[in-house]
């Protein structure tokens, strides 16, 4: 029976079935974002509040003022460094976990993924305690070990934000690489070894290409979450070191300039979508054979 001859009821079935989900999606996602986009074109003044007119002032301000450039560049820089750090630490750790005895493996998987169950605020406060100004526990330890000569400033610096964000987001990278490692046939490693490959060659030529999809999807998750992170930069960075998310928050709730805050939020969203879609294209072309 062809689709044209199908009774109306059958044609409508997919729509009826996906209807509730579609309504929810439109209601809680499309409408708020569309309203934020509209809000970013409204005018604001201290005396009159928000004016429902259509102007480009907020966008002009966000795109030309060096203050905003600095914030967005800092957000990008922090996200890129956090993503690279998560790959550099998470990839070897996932591989080591995969080679452990099952008993230890389940214990350490719990240790590594367990922090996801604890609030980001609690974990970030832990870092704030460890950094603790100039005389925190980390600086004391490093000074005693002779690694550094003078205390490294962690609080209210990008270094501190990067360390704490890496800690918060690395479970996502390990989870992603771990999933990819589960699909790797261990016999491919043994086959390479039997053909005389060294451990480095095996890692580079056999294991790495097979887990690359996991690394890349993990990188996209970590990058997106790092760029839109709010709690960690707010606690570690404080008022001095703002990123795009805390900047939008400040415009909304401190200066009460909602239209400008909306412009910042929309620009962050558009920038993130552009970067993620762009890198996805690049990755799919570069690693086409892995995705087949």
């Amino acid at each position: 029976m062809s689709a044209v001859a199908a009774p109306l009821g059958r044609q409508a079935t997919p729509w009826l079935l996906s209807g509730p989900a579609l309504l929810l999606f439109v209601g809680v996602m499309v409408v708020p974002i569309a309203m934020t986009v509209l809000l970013s074109f409204h005018d604001f003044s201290m005396s009159k509040g928000i004016q429902p007119v259509f102007i480009l002032r907020n966008w002009h301000e966000v795109l030309t003022d060096g203050y905003f450039h600095e914030m967005f560049l800092r957000t990008l820089r922090i996200s890129v460094i956090v993503t690279v750090a998560c790959i550099a630490l998470g990839l070897p750790e996932a591989y080591i976990l995969n080679r452990m005895a099952p008993r230890w493996r389940s214990l350490f998987l719990l240790v590594i993924l367990g922090p996801l169950l604890i609030s980001v605020v609690a974990r970030t406060l832990g870092w704030a305690l460890l950094f603790g100004g100039e005389t925190g526990l980390i600086n004391k330890t490093l000074l005693r070990l002779g690694v550094i000569d003078s205390p490294v400033p962690f609080m209210f610096t990008e270094t501190g934000v990067v360390v704490a964000l890496t800690h918060v987001l690395i479970p996502f990278m390990i989870l992603s690489v771990w999933t990819a490692l589960q699909r790797v046939d261990p016999q491919t490693e043994n086959a390479a070894r039997s053909l005389g490959a060294s451990q480095t060659t095996i890692l580079r030529r056999i294991v790495l290409p097979q887990v690359m999809p996991g690394v890349l999807s993990g990188a996209i998750i970590v990058f997106a979450l790092a760029a839109s992170a709010f709690a960690t930069p707010a606690i570690i960075g404080g008022r001095r070191l703002k990123v795009a998310a805390t900047l939008a928050y400040d415009e909304f709730l401190n200066t009460l300039n909602w239209p400008l805050g909306a412009a910042v939020a929309v620009l962050l969203l558009v920038g993130l979508i552009a970067i993620i879609v762009g890198s996805n294209r690049l990755i799919e072309r570069r690693y086409a054979q892995v995705f087949q």
Binding site: L89, I96, L97, V111, A122, L129, L130, A164, H167, I170
Partner: protein, 56 residues
């Protein structure tokens, strides 16, 4: 399946320390007897837990 070498296990130990450090420190600081944020070294108290119980 080959076992992890000493280098891999050292990396793993450092990594687990990195993951657990901030969580352990938060729990540790909860036992401070002081009225401000401090890391208790010699004296421990349940003062702040009693404080929670007093204002349910």
């Amino acid at each position: 399946m080959r076992r992890n070498g000493p280098l891999a296990l050292t990396f793993h130990a450092l990594f687990v320390t990195f993951i657990l450090a901030p969580i352990v420190i938060v729990c540790w600081v909860a036992f401070t007897p002081e009225g401000f944020l401090s890391i208790p070294n010699t004296e421990f108290s349940l003062r702040w837990f009693r404080e929670i119980a007093r204002y349910p």
